[in-house]
Protein backbone atom coordinates (compact mmCIF):
# COMPACT_ATOMS: atom_id res chain seq x y z
CA UNK A 1 0.00 0.00 0.00
CA UNK A 2 1.33 3.38 -0.96
CA UNK A 3 4.74 4.60 -0.01
CA UNK A 4 5.41 1.91 2.60
CA UNK A 5 5.38 -0.72 -0.13
CA UNK A 6 8.05 1.14 -2.05
CA UNK A 7 10.25 1.60 1.02
CA UNK A 8 10.09 -2.03 2.11
CA UNK A 9 10.27 -3.47 5.62
CA UNK A 10 13.17 -1.36 6.82
CA UNK A 11 11.25 1.86 7.37
CA UNK A 12 8.17 2.62 9.49
CA UNK A 13 6.20 5.77 8.93
CA UNK A 14 4.40 7.50 11.82
CA UNK A 15 3.57 10.91 13.15
CA UNK A 16 6.26 12.71 15.10
CA UNK A 17 4.14 13.48 18.14
CA UNK A 18 2.92 9.89 18.30
CA UNK A 19 6.40 8.45 18.43
CA UNK A 20 7.54 11.12 20.89
CA UNK A 21 4.57 10.36 23.14
CA UNK A 22 5.28 6.65 22.80
CA UNK A 23 8.83 7.28 23.97
CA UNK A 24 7.69 9.51 26.82
CA UNK A 25 5.05 7.19 28.18
CA UNK A 26 7.43 4.25 28.47
CA UNK A 27 10.30 6.18 30.06
CA UNK A 28 8.97 8.07 33.04
CA UNK A 29 11.66 9.27 35.38
CA UNK A 30 10.06 9.50 38.81
CA UNK A 31 10.57 12.10 41.41
CA UNK A 32 9.25 10.37 44.55
CA UNK A 33 8.00 13.12 46.87
CA UNK A 34 7.47 10.80 49.82
CA UNK A 35 6.25 12.23 53.11
CA UNK A 36 4.35 9.50 54.92
CA UNK A 37 3.39 5.86 55.30
CA UNK A 38 2.35 5.48 51.64
CA UNK A 39 6.09 5.47 51.03
CA UNK A 40 6.17 1.89 52.28
CA UNK A 41 3.62 0.92 49.66
CA UNK A 42 5.61 2.84 47.08
CA UNK A 43 8.65 0.72 47.94
CA UNK A 44 6.52 -2.37 47.44
CA UNK A 45 5.28 -1.24 44.05
CA UNK A 46 8.74 -0.13 42.96
CA UNK A 47 10.35 -3.36 44.14
CA UNK A 48 10.63 -6.62 42.24
CA UNK A 49 7.25 -8.10 43.26
CA UNK A 50 5.07 -5.53 41.50
CA UNK A 51 7.91 -3.92 39.55
CA UNK A 52 7.19 -0.51 38.09
CA UNK A 53 10.03 -1.23 35.67
CA UNK A 54 7.67 -3.37 33.59
CA UNK A 55 5.93 -0.12 32.65
CA UNK A 56 9.09 1.84 32.01
CA UNK A 57 8.85 3.88 35.21
CA UNK A 58 11.65 2.27 37.14
CA UNK A 59 14.25 4.84 37.82
CA UNK A 60 13.67 7.38 40.60
CA UNK A 61 15.62 10.57 40.09
CA UNK A 62 16.25 12.47 43.28
CA UNK A 63 16.73 15.74 41.47
CA UNK A 64 13.56 17.39 40.14
CA UNK A 65 15.56 18.71 37.19
CA UNK A 66 16.03 15.16 35.90
CA UNK A 67 12.51 13.92 36.54
CA UNK A 68 9.31 14.20 34.54
CA UNK A 69 6.82 12.34 36.75
CA UNK A 70 6.27 13.63 40.26
CA UNK A 71 4.74 11.08 42.58
CA UNK A 72 3.33 12.82 45.64
CA UNK A 73 3.24 9.97 48.13
CA UNK A 74 1.73 10.78 51.49
CA UNK A 75 0.25 13.54 53.60
CA UNK A 76 1.24 17.10 52.70
CA UNK A 77 1.18 19.49 55.64
CA UNK A 78 0.89 23.24 55.36
CA UNK A 79 4.50 23.44 56.45
CA UNK A 80 5.50 21.18 53.58
CA UNK A 81 3.33 22.89 50.94
CA UNK A 82 5.79 25.62 49.82
CA UNK A 83 8.45 22.93 49.32
CA UNK A 84 6.10 20.85 47.16
CA UNK A 85 5.28 23.83 44.95
CA UNK A 86 8.94 24.77 44.69
CA UNK A 87 9.98 21.27 43.66
CA UNK A 88 7.15 21.15 41.11
CA UNK A 89 8.28 24.44 39.60
CA UNK A 90 11.85 23.17 39.39
CA UNK A 91 10.90 20.22 37.19
CA UNK A 92 11.52 20.62 33.48
CA UNK A 93 8.53 20.28 31.15
CA UNK A 94 6.85 18.15 30.02
CA UNK A 95 6.00 16.92 33.52
CA UNK A 96 3.18 15.01 35.14
CA UNK A 97 1.94 14.66 38.68
CA UNK A 98 0.54 11.51 40.21
CA UNK A 99 -1.27 11.88 43.51
CA UNK A 100 -0.60 8.72 45.49
CA UNK A 101 -2.91 7.91 48.39
CA UNK A 102 -6.00 9.55 49.78
CA UNK A 103 -4.08 12.10 51.87
CA UNK A 104 -2.43 13.57 48.81
CA UNK A 105 -5.72 13.42 46.85
CA UNK A 106 -7.99 15.12 49.38
CA UNK A 107 -6.36 15.32 52.80
CA UNK A 108 -7.96 11.99 53.70
CA UNK A 109 -9.11 11.78 57.28
CA UNK A 110 -6.78 14.63 58.27
CA UNK A 111 -9.23 17.52 58.17
CA UNK A 112 -7.35 19.71 60.61
CA UNK A 113 -5.13 22.76 61.06
CA UNK A 114 -2.04 20.97 59.76
CA UNK A 115 -2.98 19.25 56.53
CA UNK A 116 -3.42 20.44 52.95
CA UNK A 117 -6.84 19.31 51.71
CA UNK A 118 -5.60 17.79 48.46
CA UNK A 119 -2.46 18.72 46.54
CA UNK A 120 -4.59 19.91 43.63
CA UNK A 121 -5.08 23.10 45.62
CA UNK A 122 -1.36 23.69 45.00
CA UNK A 123 -0.25 22.02 41.76
CA UNK A 124 -2.00 20.48 38.73
CA UNK A 125 -2.60 16.74 39.15
CA UNK A 126 -2.92 14.27 36.27
CA UNK A 127 -3.84 11.05 38.04
CA UNK A 128 -5.44 10.49 41.45
CA UNK A 129 -4.88 7.16 43.18
CA UNK A 130 -6.99 6.99 46.35
CA UNK A 131 -6.58 4.39 49.05
CA UNK A 132 -5.00 4.25 52.45
CA UNK A 133 -2.61 3.08 51.19
CA UNK A 134 -3.58 2.15 47.61
CA UNK A 135 -2.99 -1.42 46.54
CA UNK A 136 -0.03 -1.82 44.19
CA UNK A 137 -2.48 -2.89 41.49
CA UNK A 138 -4.22 0.48 41.81
CA UNK A 139 -0.91 2.26 41.37
CA UNK A 140 -0.10 0.24 38.29
CA UNK A 141 -3.59 0.94 36.94
CA UNK A 142 -3.05 4.64 37.57
CA UNK A 143 0.27 4.50 35.79
CA UNK A 144 -1.31 2.80 32.78
CA UNK A 145 -4.03 5.45 32.73
CA UNK A 146 -1.34 8.12 32.79
CA UNK A 147 0.38 6.41 29.87
CA UNK A 148 -2.87 6.54 27.91
CA UNK A 149 -3.18 10.22 28.75
CA UNK A 150 0.37 10.93 27.62
CA UNK A 151 -0.19 9.04 24.37
CA UNK A 152 -2.99 11.43 23.45
CA UNK A 153 -1.13 14.64 24.17
CA UNK A 154 -0.14 17.15 21.54
CA UNK A 155 3.00 19.24 21.31
CA UNK A 156 0.86 22.33 21.76
CA UNK A 157 -0.13 21.12 25.26
CA UNK A 158 3.31 22.16 26.48
CA UNK A 159 4.67 24.17 28.17
CA UNK A 160 2.09 24.62 30.89
CA UNK A 161 4.16 26.95 33.05
CA UNK A 162 4.64 27.27 36.77
CA UNK A 163 2.08 26.29 39.39
CA UNK A 164 -0.84 28.74 39.51
CA UNK A 165 -0.31 29.10 43.25
CA UNK A 166 1.91 32.11 43.77
CA UNK A 167 4.14 32.98 46.64
CA UNK A 168 7.28 30.88 46.26
Amino acid sequence: MGIEKILGDNIILTQLNKIVNWARKYSFFLYPFITACCGMEFMSVAGPRYDLDRFGAALPRFSPRQADLMMVVGTISHKQAPILVKVYNQMAEPKWVLSYGVCACSGGFYNNYATVQGIDTLIPVDIYIPGCPPRPEMVLDGLIKLQKKVAEERFSDWPKGASPVAGV
Binding site: K79, A81, P82, Y113, V168
Partner: protein, 163 residues
Amino acid sequence: MSEDGVTIKRLRDKFPDSIIESHSFRGDDTVIIKKEDIVEVCRFLRDEKGLAYNFMMDLTVVDYLNIREEPRFEVVYHLYSLEHNHRVRIKAPVSESDCSIDSIISLWIGANWFEREAYDMYGIIFKGHPDIRRILLYKEFKGHPLRKDYPVQGRQPLIGPKN
Protein backbone atom coordinates in the same frame (compact mmCIF):
# COMPACT_ATOMS: atom_id res chain seq x y z
CA MET B 1 -8.51 3.02 94.81
CA SER B 2 -5.68 0.95 96.18
CA GLU B 3 -3.17 1.84 98.82
CA ASP B 4 -0.66 4.56 98.10
CA GLY B 5 2.55 3.38 96.48
CA VAL B 6 6.00 3.91 97.91
CA THR B 7 6.61 6.90 95.68
CA ILE B 8 3.62 8.81 97.01
CA LYS B 9 4.61 8.05 100.60
CA ARG B 10 8.16 9.26 100.05
CA LEU B 11 6.94 12.42 98.35
CA ARG B 12 4.44 13.17 101.11
CA ASP B 13 7.21 12.87 103.69
CA LYS B 14 9.60 15.07 101.77
CA PHE B 15 7.27 17.70 100.29
CA PRO B 16 4.19 17.89 102.54
CA ASP B 17 3.33 21.42 101.39
CA SER B 18 3.83 20.89 97.66
CA ILE B 19 1.37 18.08 97.12
CA ILE B 20 -2.16 19.15 96.25
CA GLU B 21 -3.55 15.68 95.72
CA SER B 22 -2.45 12.15 95.00
CA HIS B 23 -3.99 8.87 94.09
CA SER B 24 -2.94 5.37 93.25
CA PHE B 25 -4.89 3.09 90.96
CA ARG B 26 -3.80 -0.51 90.37
CA GLY B 27 -0.18 0.40 90.94
CA ASP B 28 -0.22 3.60 88.89
CA ASP B 29 0.77 6.50 91.12
CA THR B 30 -0.34 10.02 90.32
CA VAL B 31 0.75 13.10 92.24
CA ILE B 32 -0.60 16.59 91.66
CA ILE B 33 1.86 19.21 92.87
CA LYS B 34 2.25 22.97 92.88
CA LYS B 35 4.01 24.13 89.77
CA GLU B 36 6.60 26.16 91.68
CA ASP B 37 8.09 22.97 93.09
CA ILE B 38 8.26 20.93 89.90
CA VAL B 39 12.04 21.04 89.54
CA GLU B 40 12.71 20.15 93.17
CA VAL B 41 10.20 17.30 93.16
CA CYS B 42 11.62 15.91 89.94
CA ARG B 43 15.18 16.20 91.22
CA PHE B 44 14.19 14.28 94.35
CA LEU B 45 12.48 11.59 92.27
CA ARG B 46 15.51 11.25 90.02
CA ASP B 47 18.30 11.30 92.61
CA GLU B 48 16.78 9.60 95.65
CA LYS B 49 17.90 6.03 96.13
CA GLY B 50 14.99 3.65 96.12
CA LEU B 51 13.09 5.85 93.65
CA ALA B 52 15.66 6.54 90.91
CA TYR B 53 13.27 7.81 88.25
CA ASN B 54 16.02 8.19 85.70
CA PHE B 55 13.90 8.24 82.56
CA MET B 56 11.48 11.00 81.59
CA MET B 57 9.13 9.15 79.27
CA ASP B 58 6.65 11.82 78.33
CA LEU B 59 5.68 15.40 78.90
CA THR B 60 2.33 16.69 77.77
CA VAL B 61 -0.42 19.15 78.61
CA VAL B 62 -4.16 18.93 79.16
CA ASP B 63 -6.51 21.84 78.51
CA TYR B 64 -9.51 21.79 80.87
CA LEU B 65 -11.38 24.66 79.22
CA ASN B 66 -15.13 24.44 80.00
CA ILE B 67 -14.47 21.43 82.21
CA ARG B 68 -13.32 23.30 85.26
CA GLU B 69 -12.46 26.83 86.28
CA GLU B 70 -8.90 27.96 86.80
CA PRO B 71 -6.26 26.59 86.68
CA ARG B 72 -7.04 25.86 83.07
CA PHE B 73 -4.01 23.76 82.08
CA GLU B 74 -2.24 20.81 83.61
CA VAL B 75 1.31 19.85 82.61
CA VAL B 76 1.74 16.10 82.90
CA TYR B 77 5.07 14.34 83.38
CA HIS B 78 5.51 10.60 83.07
CA LEU B 79 8.62 9.26 84.78
CA TYR B 80 10.00 5.75 84.73
CA SER B 81 12.68 4.06 86.80
CA LEU B 82 14.70 1.63 84.74
CA GLU B 83 16.27 0.36 87.94
CA HIS B 84 13.07 -0.48 89.84
CA ASN B 85 10.54 -0.75 87.01
CA HIS B 86 8.42 1.94 88.69
CA ARG B 87 6.32 4.55 87.00
CA VAL B 88 4.87 7.77 88.33
CA ARG B 89 2.73 10.52 86.85
CA ILE B 90 3.33 14.07 88.05
CA LYS B 91 0.76 16.74 87.25
CA ALA B 92 1.23 20.46 87.74
CA PRO B 93 -1.72 22.83 87.28
CA VAL B 94 -0.92 25.98 85.31
CA SER B 95 -3.32 28.91 85.14
CA GLU B 96 -4.16 30.78 81.96
CA SER B 97 -3.12 34.15 83.37
CA ASP B 98 0.37 32.94 84.33
CA CYS B 99 0.91 30.43 81.58
CA SER B 100 4.38 29.27 82.54
CA ILE B 101 6.24 26.60 84.49
CA ASP B 102 9.90 25.93 85.23
CA SER B 103 11.80 23.89 82.67
CA ILE B 104 13.17 20.49 83.69
CA ILE B 105 15.93 20.43 81.08
CA SER B 106 18.49 20.76 83.86
CA LEU B 107 17.38 17.29 85.03
CA TRP B 108 16.59 15.48 81.79
CA ILE B 109 18.05 17.02 78.66
CA GLY B 110 15.57 14.98 76.64
CA ALA B 111 12.80 17.26 77.88
CA ASN B 112 13.96 19.94 75.47
CA TRP B 113 11.82 18.97 72.47
CA PHE B 114 8.90 17.86 74.66
CA GLU B 115 8.73 21.32 76.16
CA ARG B 116 8.99 22.93 72.75
CA GLU B 117 6.11 20.76 71.53
CA ALA B 118 4.03 21.64 74.59
CA TYR B 119 4.72 25.31 73.90
CA ASP B 120 3.86 24.87 70.22
CA MET B 121 0.54 23.13 70.85
CA TYR B 122 -0.62 24.77 74.10
CA GLY B 123 1.41 27.96 74.54
CA ILE B 124 2.87 27.02 77.89
CA ILE B 125 6.13 28.91 78.48
CA PHE B 126 8.88 26.82 80.06
CA LYS B 127 11.04 29.16 82.08
CA GLY B 128 14.74 28.40 81.76
CA HIS B 129 14.37 26.62 78.43
CA PRO B 130 17.32 27.67 76.22
CA ASP B 131 15.37 27.81 72.96
CA ILE B 132 11.62 27.96 73.47
CA ARG B 133 10.13 28.25 69.97
CA ARG B 134 7.80 26.20 67.77
CA ILE B 135 9.02 22.73 66.88
CA LEU B 136 6.31 21.23 64.64
CA LEU B 137 4.45 24.19 63.21
CA TYR B 138 5.88 27.10 61.24
CA LYS B 139 6.74 30.38 62.85
CA GLU B 140 4.02 32.23 60.90
CA PHE B 141 1.34 30.15 62.66
CA LYS B 142 -0.78 32.17 65.08
CA GLY B 143 -2.23 30.61 68.19
CA HIS B 144 -1.83 27.13 69.63
CA PRO B 145 -3.90 24.49 67.85
CA LEU B 146 -4.48 21.98 70.66
CA ARG B 147 -6.02 24.59 72.93
CA LYS B 148 -9.72 23.89 73.13
CA ASP B 149 -10.58 27.43 72.02
CA TYR B 150 -8.62 27.12 68.77
CA PRO B 151 -11.31 27.01 66.05
CA VAL B 152 -11.86 23.54 64.59
CA GLN B 153 -11.85 25.00 61.09
CA GLY B 154 -8.91 27.33 61.78
CA ARG B 155 -6.60 27.08 58.76
CA GLN B 156 -3.41 29.08 58.29
CA PRO B 157 -1.76 27.84 55.08
CA LEU B 158 1.59 29.29 54.09
CA ILE B 159 0.64 28.95 50.44
CA GLY B 160 -2.49 28.14 48.50
CA PRO B 161 -6.15 28.48 49.46
CA LYS B 162 -7.51 28.05 52.95
CA ASN B 163 -9.62 25.14 51.67
